[in-house]
Symmetry: C2
Subunit: 647 residues, 2 copies
């Protein structure tokens, strides 16, 4: 499938092929050309993404009219025939970004051709002055920039910039025109919204993170200044008041004065990620400190056990501290991706492996949950408790954005599918980081890692693991040299063991959660093994999370587990309702699954459910298996719960 017409990826790039490449900070990311995931859990996800999801998305972008909108723009027939919401252009850009990473990963010639064809259609729709949006600015359309609250014009361009960055980092100098399109649009944005321009912001943050990365890519500091300007304008109440408050678009409090993420969870995370970029690039430690504090409180009080964020359906927003309902969890897939963007930038800035812990948790339990095994249906919202089995969707149907107990093939607001696609396609760039003295493995997957440290030392090693099925991670060094290998020990991995094998023998020690480091003069063939205890564990929520009082969750390694009704049939049950977990016998592993003993309360019928005394009937008990949360609802309609009442 590889076409010779594709420019080859550079063997040793000057800039890592990664979505965010800061010019300062504790760590630098290793990009696609330095890390290759070669097997296991994430390789399977990447394969499905590349083979099925991308084609599914492109087919829908065509059939929904979102790609043809660009043709209508270039042929001058708009506004007639335009289809889709205000932000539909952005789905095309996120798809382009996904294609760029996938081409970088696989050098697939068919994808390359598709990429170039779409870029040509997008480029043809750009106005001479750089403006690019199919919904605004033409006779019969709303004027440009007239509806900053809802128009999403700048939001769409932010995604265009990220796509151009992905392309240029994976295929530097590719002669496809996307970077030029992005720069023309970015120059216009700087002209229109610069210090003397419209002193406002986009209702949906995204332009900021796009501009910051475009600045890093091109070295054009004007883009960075513009990103900073947009960030500083948040909280100045330049957008209209809103039924849900200006916190909805983070226009309530200046970023550097806020103490927690709030409002629309995707917007909040995209903005925070961009603010880290700007803080890092400009050495603004006050801003960076504010973001660290906001992250801490958001993680401590406003995040689901899955890493999911957003408690409200109404405004797709964070709730108050401790407001984390399981059954109306919104936990939008895109908010999870935004949270990964935010946390991974803090990881690069600070080097604290806790940020990578959250990235891992969110990848396994939010991002991996969204797409079906086949890669052609998705969760937009990721509830933690489903009481009513879903009805299978027509594969041709388009669903409202967040409805449904089953994955849906497409949404009227279809931000999540291409967001998942670009994340999976760029996943190699999240595996490892480097500093001046070595490399840190942040995410565990079978992988090859090859890089060069700033002083020219070559680092090469392979990672072998069946993680998360088991917890053994084996690093085999492939070139001799003295450097430091860092291995992240997740916060749950209490009692992890590190073994370094070399010609001199075996050194073994227990390593605490955090970063376990081995600094030595490695010989080719040296092996370092990390043994992470992935036995099932019982996680008790903070009692201030009222919605899950009296419940526990069962986790295993990085995976949150769930009780799903389809697993209860052998116990004679058809629903998770009334099922409680009996913790007097701990969860056990058998036949590749985790089993718990449950007590099944007889389901009483009360005319009024606020009675005087609890039901005293003694429950039946049974042993039932749990399922990885990211695999739930793959076996047909079911009910499900992550947090299980304690018997």
């Amino acid at each position: 499938m590889t076409s010779t017409s594709i420019p080859a990826a550079p063997a040793v790039p000057t800039v890592p092929a990664a979505p965010a490449v800061p010019r300062r900070g504790a760590l630098r990311p290793l990009g696609q050309t330095e890390v290759r995931i070669t097997g296991g859990f994430w390789a399977r996800r990447q394969r499905v993404n590349g083979r099925a999801t991308l084609a599914h998305i492109e087919s829908r972008l065509e059939s929904e009219g979102w790609l043809p909108n660009f043709d209508l723009a270039s042929t001058g027939t708009l506004p007639a025939g335009r289809r889709g919401r205000e932000f539909s252009d952005s789905e095309v850009y996120k798809y382009l970004e996904a294609l760029a990473w996938e081409i970088g990963r696989t050098s697939d010639g068919v994808l390359e051709a598709r990429f170039r064809a779409i870029v040509a259609r997008v480029a043809a729709a750009q106005e001479p002055d750089g403006y690019l949006n199919t919904m605004f600015g033409r006779p019969g359309q709303e004027p440009r920039w007239a509806n900053l609250e809802w128009g999403h014009e700048l939001y769409c361009l932010g995604h265009l910039f990220q796509a151009a960055v992905a392309r240029e980092r994976t295929r530097p100098g590719a002669d496809d025109g996307l970077l030029a399109v992005a720069r023309r649009a970015a120059d216009l944005v700087c002209d229109v919204f610069g210090p003397d321009g419209i002193a406002s912001i986009c209702g949906h943050a995204e332009i900021e993170v796009g501009l910051a990365e475009l600045a890093r890519l091109t070295g054009d500091e004007r883009y960075l200044a513009q990103a900073r300007l947009f960030i500083e304008r948040h909280g100045a109440a330049t957008l209209a008041e809103h039924e849900w408050g200006r916190s909805y678009y983070q226009d309530d409090v200046p970023v550097r004065e806020a103490d927690v993420l709030r409002g629309h969870a995707v917007r909040a995370n995209y903005l925070s990620a961009a603010a880290v970029d700007v803080a890092v690039e400009s050495g603004d430690d006050e801003l960076l400190d504010a973001l660290r504090r906001q992250w801490e409180r958001t993680i401590a009080r406003r995040t689901y056990i899955t890493g999911g964020q957003g408690s409200h359906h109404q405004d797709e927003a964070f709730g108050d501290d401790w407001e984390l309902p399981a059954d109306r969890a919104y936990s939008e897939t895109c908010a999870g991706i935004g949270s990964i963007m935010f946390a991974s930038r803090l990881l690069l800035a600070d080097g604290d492996p806790r940020y990578a812990d959250l990235v891992e948790r969110t990848l396994y339990n939010v991002v991996a949950t969204s797409p079906s095994a086949e890669g052609t249906a998705f969760y937009y919202a990721n509830t933690l408790h489903e009481r009513v089995p879903g009805v299978p969707a027509d594969p041709e149907a388009t669903s409202p954005r967040a409805a449904g107990a089953l994955r849906a093939p497409w949404f009227e607001v279809s931000c999540c599918p291409p967001n998942v696609a670009r994340t999976f396609a760029s996943l190699d760039a999240y595996v490892a980081t480097a500093d001046d003295d070595g490399v840190q493995v942040q995410q565990y997957a079978r992988a090859e890692v090859r890089t060069t440290l700033p002083d020219g030392r070559e680092v090469a090693f392979d990672v072998e693991t069946n993680y998360p099925e088991d917890g053994l991670v084996r690093v085999t060094v492939r070139s001799a040299g003295e450097w430091t290998l860092g291995l992240r020990v997740p916060s749950w991995a209490v009692g992890a063991a590190l073994r370094a094998r070399s010609a001199d023998g075996v050194e073994e020690r227990e390593v605490a959660p955090g970063l376990a480091e081995v600094r030595r003069r490695f010989a080719e063939g040296d092996v370092v093994e990390l043994d992470l205890p992935v036995a099932p564990r019982v996680s008790v929520p903070d009692p201030r999370i009222d919605a899950v009082r009296g419940c526990v969750a069962i986790e295993r390694g990085p995976e949150v587990l769930a009780l799903e009704s389809v697993d209860l049939a052998p116990a004679g049950l058809d629903d998770v309702e009334g099922v409680a977990v009996d913790l007097s016998s701990p969860p056990v592993e058998r036949d590749g699954r985790v089993w718990v003993r449950v007590a099944v309360a007889p389901s009483g019928a009360h005319a009024w459910p606020y009675g005087g005394a609890p039901d005293a009937a003694s429950p039946a008990t049974a042993e039932v298996p749990l399922v990885a949360y990211h695999e739930w609802a793959e076996r047909g309609p079911s009910t499900m719960r992550v947090f299980i009442p304690v018997a």
Copy 2:
């Protein structure tokens, strides 16, 4: 304040002055001219309503432009200058209804003048063919009936009809023109939406209940047939598909096939109330049975302990069975009022006092909660758990519909204030019912009851009580005669005692929840006393209500109690967070308040809130008072919870 120009209310009306007067059924309501609340809890509420709330509403209807819209219509200047949402006309009609009841109750001449002035402005806006709406149908406006999903045109007319009914029942033959306006509009609706007309419905049910009552008032069976037609069309999917499903406007399943209330909670209740009306009037027992079943399941699985209904902010809708979050409870005031409309119609149809139990619960804990003590600020949504103290609203401000931890003076969607006003003003009509052999007291208040049974027997008695402060209800018979006195014993009043005192001595017996009856030849001065045990009780929620697992509520008589942060200061606490109730010492009454012993957990700070083990630190304990839920947030910003974790 009484003006001699007001037609006096008839001494013995042919039709009770009540909002719903069925022509068949187990019970008939006693109207305003038969029952007068003379003191106590509800008399205080009625007084504030009549003195402060009505004037507040009228002032806002003027200043928001919703009343002036009618002037713009009659002077032909619309659409220019129109203000307010699609349904703003309805607030004027609900206010007229409230005025009609208040005039019926008090014969207040100032209110009478205001009533007539507004009716004149409304009448002047009616089109020659009977159409009446300030938002549709003129050049430059959307055409009539073109937007049945959102237009609310029929909804507004339903409220107009209810206002006309209230007026005609309280001042039969009043020469103000309102009934004629209503009839002209109703005739047009029957022409346009009749069997050969537009075969669809209004997105917000209300026209049905208005038409049914107009039929009862006027005897015009065409209105009843039209109400039936609208009800039968629900579930035929004549309205457009909706992001939240057609259940949002009860257009998903035919009313007679549904098994539970679902979708928008106000719409669902208004529709159900109307469906009872139609079923009763036309002897449609199948439909009535369906509605009874739906009520049973809705009460058993989808209703808050306050009687509140509606679990979602997003679509103001019922959730799934058992989905009853305390902290995101929507429990819209208007849904509570709709539920009272539904339940009180079932009470009249069947005579089952359980329906009156729900009416009482909802009156005390939803409707009485909405307005402030001063009657000039309101809750739109009635949460059962508030974690973040509110910010006092500017008394001149208009709030979004459902935001805020404090009552707000007015809302952009301001359905609740006039809905509360009409309910309080008509409350006398909910106190007692009659059948062929006697009178049943359904709601307890100091009151005078005077009526005539169908065979001409006079029934007269007074009710004296301090209920709900104490549980003693004393009925003193004021005219001799043989009849049956029924006294509702609420379902929580286990161990109630009934004492009948006469010249022959005292008979005392324990009476079970339900209807306690005393049939005898009463002499003037005979006394029947009901002793309801109002001592505080601990109510344990069904374990299937996940959101409040491990919690209890404390109730006292008909009142749900709450823990409010302003009561915790003496115990050194400023928040309800971390406070648990210690049930080893039961709640006690002292100094007119209910006190509970609480355990206060030290508030730990966790970086990640899903840890391995619960906090074992031993909590401090204290005794704190509870507040009636309907009185919370009357002492400034606070946090609050109805369901308290059990220590």
